[in-house]
Symmetry: C2
Subunit: 667 residues, 2 copies
């Protein structure tokens, strides 16, 4: 294969949204997750939203809407952003209906939409917290109160429901809401020059623009993005104006107003050089910005996206696709500061990372974005949900010693096993909507080429230039190296297919109808242009040797350690297979891991085994805290068993670690 | 030498307090610290107590006393335990006057004592916070408000001043205070059955008992100790009674009331099996308990001391003699949980550890207590103060990456360089009083033998049985292996000298007047009984090879790592000598460290050097966060320079680490 120089400048191309009706996930592995979402997660979360789950914190989210709609008496209960749980659930339902029609579910959702419509105010305003608790305080606390965030999620739901069902009911509601926001915010004298504490409205308005082509929504996004971080600071101004009241005091009074970097509002975006603050806020913001930059062909914004992506992905991301290395503020810390045990790496942040990556692929068509998208998906996002669909991780550490967790407060945020629905239930519905909308991430149909980002099995009809192209992608990803892409279109289609060559794959190869095929590799995608005919079959071989991963020497937490990865899947040691004290296990440099089929809860997953060493305490009974001159432990042969990291903590509580000791010798 | 079995049961022996007038520190190394305390720290802290130091938080401590004494108008300012800074300063002054009379300083101190006396209430009560701010709330919040703690420190000062100057003024004040407390607290119907949130009164009352021989003080200590942790819980009762007001809300309202383990009040002492909660509270409590157990020959209390010491020293202590492995609550975490970078290890806690160890030696005469005392002294306690006497560490990490500190909140408590006087200034005056009273720790004169715990150069007249014994201890500890102990008494004295054989010393030997001498080793002390005559000279040779320290295999933070120790001094790598990225340095198993004399700020200190490896990044300019299959760094020869850990951070800000990578090979 011929590789183009990486400096190729991409011209802007039209991007087409994938119609999820026309894309069926057939993937053995992820199909099971999609079914889990459909059969378990969505009904379970519906019960949760209605407070029908015993022994968990109540949600009250549906009841809040009833109260706001005047259908019921009562008080608002829950977080200031409780509405967003309903919106995310609706979005998950919408995408799920594309996969598999379900009249009963659609009927329930229609009812929820009517309820949402009923809770909307005359002027288009929609937010149950303010409507019920403090209608006079609308838009007075953008820094802290998530009004635009909740609006954004409802707009996403409205767009999704329209795309999934063709029904305009919720779309009309959210257009009225967006119009109201457009009326309230803007450069005009009687408008507010503010922008949200928690970004989300930006990416949502861009999606609304995609379906409505209403330029005001794109312009409003541009307004929000460029207002951000300007001086004098809007958060300070509104804080003064409302008499210095504050909603959050987790880290001191009005900390969210004061710590502007937490919301990426410390500087105008164009002056920001580092991924900083709350990780979810960051990726949500950048998702909207990248979408806007592409559609407005704004080179300054594009450069901000490239620059900030680079810092995040090259200096602040875990190999699991986790971002946000600290619990305090659920935030980024600094370049190369990647602790494995005190990390936050929120599930929602990795979902947001996939969203940001998707918009970057659409803009740049560079495989690095697909690589990150895949890494986040097969590791942190999948790891966020238990295999029963009812337990979730919000925080995704790469190393856990459960015995220490309850006693050392640096681990207060760490849960050694997945939890049920939470009071602050951001992650579970986010995982649900991501998994049901997976089709949006597999392909990026651009006018120049149809980009294949993920090798998730599916059958789809996609836009290929001016016409449609029907494809079937099959295989047993991420476990088997063979991926087959078959053309199903009865009519010939002339277009370019661009296949992502994953960064983890040392020697990808491809045949067309059994013959080796030539193509150009441009920015990590293999471009194959031809007239595709029914029956054409591309066989992509992505060899999946077990790869040893070594950390950048600037990352002190990985010095002397190695991690294993096969395909996009990162592996870990668990106590269940290896006994306790995982820190005493060593993987020798020359050990050759072998593949092993998992059983029970690990069935249909590839495990790894290697001959290693365990440092066994010499006198475990009466051992002091240290010993002079001689190792207090002796290495004995030990078979190390690695499991996919996303599947950890499905067999009870135990130690886990991704980065394993490896003793490097002199060169 | 013949070693007795360790199971020897010690009978109770009378212990004599060392008279600090009759003990002059002549030690080159620690003498310099004592002079620093006398010439710099005490005057500096006097300025601090009087708010004459620019650019630091005010203390206001002296002014609080003036206001309480009615000599000045104004408001109380500072912590609820601000009085204790004055008490600790007075104690440091007292011990310093023993070392070197200073009429001017004594005059100042006499003035402070008059001020303290003037601030005492008619009934003996003494506490400026309550007297000025809330006299009606006296003794209503023992859990949170440090009244008994401040009383304890003033009692210690009164005892010290009496012992140092023979003046009874402050002793009388504190006896009235103790009598008042004895009146308020006790089992009687009209008495309070409470005990302090922060222990200190216990150890102070025992010291007061030592000088006054007033049994009530010992009995009151016994009351406080045995009331602790009883049900129903006193902290809850007083909390209800005062209408649930709370002074501290660092970790939520009334957390100090609720988290009873923080104050070691979760259970009666006899039921406690683990060192837990605030580390300073723990060692202060146990200091008093050990003192009480010995003098009351209380086997139950003695067993509690042994059991809790064991847990602390064998499962929760750093090699630096630091205790308290977490910042939250400045507290112990759990057995074998010893993080190097997020540790608290407060300077005050290691001072309290020395106090606890001293009382344990007095009770048990076992060298393990002297070993810990020495370890704490030569590492964390000395490390707590800069070589200029004006900058202090409260927190003593074993690993610091200064670049990461400002951005990751798990490091909020970490200071990469020593700070000036603090608003909460517990540590500086504590270091001052410890260093000036060092003579109390060097010897433990018991009726059975005169125990020599520390090899700090000095000349002293000590109680040896019924008579006095004059000794001179000289050498160049902790740098040189020769220690000489000369008898100066003109009259022959028949008694046992018991020399601690340090745990770090592989092969101690001793000669008497140039001839090998036989002695019994009992519980780590070499016992030499004879009639000592003027001119008798014991030469103790304590070979100081550089020792490699290996962590207990249960401590995950030390796996694959080694630390260096020589004599009692623990070493570390600093960026100043070794460049940045200390995590990329490796000390090979077979490297033989050599000694090196330090220069400049490290003059007169022994440094270590060894040939090791540095993993050098192959492409530092464009390096990704990880690399597959090949190390992204190559080992190059690198000379590792180790400095005594207590002397770190005296050359500006930089990385530091104690535990260094060592690649162990298979057996």
């Amino acid at each position: 294969m011929y590789t183009h120089p990486e400096e190729v400048v991409m011209t802007q191309h039209v991007v087409f949204d994938v119609d999820l009706h026309r894309l069926k996930i057939t993937d053995t592995f992820l199909g099971q997750y999609q079914r889990l979402v459909r059969d378990v997660v969505i009904p379970y979360q519906w019960d949760a939203l209605n407070d029908r789950i015993a022994d968990t914190e109540p949600s009250h989210a549906i009841e809040n809407f009833r109260i706001a709609a005047g259908q019921q008496a009562g008080e608002f209960y829950g977080m200031v952003f409780q509405d967003s749980d309903v919106a995310k659930w609706l979005e998950a339902v919408a995408w799920s209906l594309c996969q598999k029609p379900d009249a009963e579910l659609e009927h329930i959702a229609d009812g929820v939409i009517e309820l949402v419509a009923a809770a909307q105010c005359e002027d288009g305003y929609l937010n149950t917290w303010f409507t019920v608790k403090a209608p006079e305080q609308r838009w007075s606390n953008l820094a802290e109160c998530h009004e635009l965030y909740c609006a954004g999620h409802m707009i996403e739901a409205g767009v999704a429901f329209f795309q999934a069902t063709g029904k305009r009911r919720l779309l009309d509601v959210v257009c009225r809401l967006a119009d109201h926001i457009d009326h309230v915010f803007g450069p005009g004298e009687h408008q507010l020059q503010g922008y949200p504490g928690h970004p989300e409205i930006e990416l949502a308005l861009m999606r609304l623009f995609d379906v409505t082509q209403e330029p005001r929504y794109r312009e409003l996004t541009h307004f929000f993005v460029t207002q951000r971080g300007q001086s004098p600071h809007y958060y300070d101004e509104e804080y003064e104006k409302r008499g210095k009241t504050s909603y959050w005091n987790t880290y001191g009074p009005a900390w969210m107003v004061k710590d502007k970097a937490y919301s990426q509002a410390h500087l105008p975006l164009v002056e920001q050089n580092q991924a900083t603050g709350h990780a979810v806020r960051f990726v949500y913001l950048m998702t909207g910005v990248a979408h806007l930059a592409r559609l407005s062909e704004d080179e300054t914004l594009r450069q901000s996206c490239l620059r900030l992506w680079q810092d995040m992905a090259q200096r602040q991301m875990y190999i699991t696709g986790g971002i946000g290395s600290q619990s305090s503020g659920e935030a980024f810390s600094s370049d190369y500061d990647l602790p494995n045990d005190t990390v936050y790496a929120e599930s929602c942040a990795s979902i947001g990372l996939m969203m940001f990556a998707r918009r970057m692929v659409e803009m740049e068509a560079d495989s690095q974005y697909g690589d990150v998208m895949e890494r986040a998906l097969y590791n942190t996002v999948l790891g966020g949900m238990a295999l029963d669909g009812k337990h979730f991780f919000y925080v995704n550490p790469l190393e856990v010693q459960p015995k220490a967790v309850p006693f050392n407060h640096v681990y207060d945020h760490i849960k050694p096993v997945r939890q049920r629905w939470f009071g602050c239930a951001c992650c579970p519905p986010n995982i649900a909507r991501l998994l049901t909308s997976l089709g949006h991430y597999i392909y990026t149909p651009r006018s120049d080429a149809l980009y294949v980002n993920l090798y998730v099995g599916n059958e789809a009809e996609l836009v290929a230039g001016a016409v449609g192209l029907r494809l079937r992608l099959s295989g047993n990803y991420p476990w088997d190296e063979q991926v087959t892409l078959s053309v199903l279109s009865p009519e010939p289609v002339t277009h370019t297919l661009a296949l992502r060559l994953p960064d983890w794959c040392p020697s990808p190869s491809v045949t067309l109808n059994g013959q080796p095929v030539q193509g150009d590799v441009v920015r990590g995608y293999l471009h194959l242009q031809r007239t595709w005919r029914e029956g054409d079959t591309l066989c992509l071989t992505l060899p999946m040797p077990v790869r040893r991963v070594y950390g950048n020497p600037l990352v002190r937490h990985q010095a002397g350690k190695v991690a294993l990865q096969r395909g996009p899947v990162v592996y870990c040691l668990e106590e269940a297979d290896n006994g306790a004290q995982l820190h005493n296990l060593w993987l020798p440099e020359n050990a050759v891991p072998r593949l092993l089929n998992g059983t029970a809860s690990l069935a249909h997953k590839v495990l790894l085994q290697a001959e290693g060493l365990r440092y066994q305490a010499n006198q475990p009974e009466k051992q002091a805290l240290w010993r002079y001159d001689a190792h207090p432990a002796t290495p004995v042969p030990h078979t190390l068993t690695f499991i996919p990291w996303f599947a950890w903590a499905n067999r009870g509580e135990g130690e886990m670690r991704v980065w394993v000791n490896e003793a490097p010798g002199p060169a």
